[in-house]
Amino acid sequence: MIIPNSAVRLLDDAVIKYKDKVAVSDEYETFTFERLQSLGHSIATALLAVSDGGYMPEPVMVYLPKSGKCIASFMGAMYSGNPYVPIAYDMPAGRIQKIVDLLEGRGHIITDADGMAVIDTMSIPETMHVHIYDEITTTAPDCDAVYSALDRVIDTDPIYIMFTSGSTGEPKGVTVPHRGAVDYAIWVHNTFGINENSKLGNQAPFYFDNSIFDIYSMLLTGAEMNIIPETLFMFPSKLPEYIRDNDITVIFWVPTVMINVANSGVLSEIEMPKLKTVAFCGEVMPNTQLNIWRKNHPDAVYANLYGPTEISDVCTYYIVDREFKDSDPLPIGRACENMRIIILNSENKLAKPNEQGELCVIGTGVSLGYWNKPDISDKVFVQNPANPFYEERIYRTGDLAYITDEGLIMYDGRMDNQVKVKGNRIELGEIECAAMCVEGVKGACAVFDAPNEQIVLFVESCEALVLRKFNNELKQYIPKYMLPSKLVVMDKFPHTANDKIDRVTLKKSISEN
């Protein structure tokens, strides 16, 4: 296979092979490959018409409800030679503003009428062009302009920028090149045999890198990507019914959803005969619930995938090939094709088998770093200390791991304050920064209550604060998934000898209560 300069070339190939076949379906609409292409051409034409023509790409923020329209917009951005930036439709305006600022007010926003009302409350410089989806999709396509822009793209150019939580309260824009996404799609295809008869049941939000699995498998193989209505995920017991009724063959979900479905007890009641591949990634998958899936649907292939956004979604995998007791941890397995994993110990040397260290990733999938943040990029995208001979860039994940005698990688927790709650990656620092913006708050300390898998927020304040109302304030700054489940108000925080907030004492107080 020839690696294309831009992943959108995969769509052009798919149109030749699968033209009228459905590429994407959502609650309201279906998009054939051909329609996706023609919408992409129209959108790209509209974007190029107002382009500043400079050297740097112009990021295209896609701020629409989760739907096939987002996918068409991503195609439009790629056809114009620019990276897309998925923005959650319920993202607070304050956080969108931070992203606009990080992009230095350059580029484009694609939105709808409701999104426009939110954007109107923000300060958007004139150098950022705001487009309404329903308007730009009617633009007469100028294919000469589109393909000359596309020809200038090289595979190390950014394909998307995905914003993830940052500990200083500012989101970090992970910038992934085309070749990272394409390389990953090829691996997915080779490993799971996805083809034009497959139907992917998409759960992952598009601002979450797991969605790359669905989008690029669809483009590469001609499979159909079915966007499962978001509301259904609030009712896990109804999901197997949906899989059955819609003939879904492949799912790649976050473990929280898998766990909720298993716990609902419905797996023993509903047959899902077409479902052949069950992959999951984003947090630890417990064997207790995985065993419920395996027992009730023994014919499916189960795969535990691992990887942070910074390396284009996935870098290790484990096809579940033997029995596990409920209490056993599931390995994250081995490196994917064309990726390499090393474990660096506390002395920055390669760890021996069974020795714990930091999991580091090497390969085409390693991203270009954080958009407009060279300082923080330089801390984690570094030269491999084990290689003194030539430039070999690694990504230090901050995840702890070790390699067993069998050569399987085992995940072993985090080195810092990053936590995963229901599959969402959260820096506790971002919650604290947001809490400090609420009136009356003098200090804030967010703690992860691991046994209950929830965030407890301690605030220093003289006022009586109520969780629900406090969260309604916090929602102006941080996404809903970051909101604390518990609020503890204190007159004064305990401090350590060197005058830092005593997190250990605060954390202990949770388990004591």
Partner: protein, 79 residues
């Protein structure tokens, strides 16, 4: 008790809402933070058991069920 009252009372008790005046029959339960996303399951389970009905995946995708009134409307269409 009407369906609306029954559902309202269940939610008030289950999610420790007490006598919060903001809790009305047309308030968005999830956006306003009265019920978290996991609570939705408990509400559906409650109405399915109480009224011996089944809320299908199609009902959930077709009809909004974000307020007490909206949930009651779906329930009433099935009893």
């Amino acid at each position: 008790m009407t369906v609306t009252e029954t559902i309202s009372e269940f939610i008030r008790d289950k999610f420790d809402i007490g006598d919060d005046p903001d809790f009305t029959n047309d308030v968005h339960l999830f956006n306003e933070g009265f019920v978290d996303s996991f609570g939705a399951v408990e509400i559906i389970h409650f109405v399915e058991e109480t009224y011996s009905i089944e809320i299908t995946q199609k009902d959930i995708t077709l009809f909004p069920m974000n307020t007490v009134e909206e949930i009651a409307a779906v329930v009433e269409s099935k009893i």
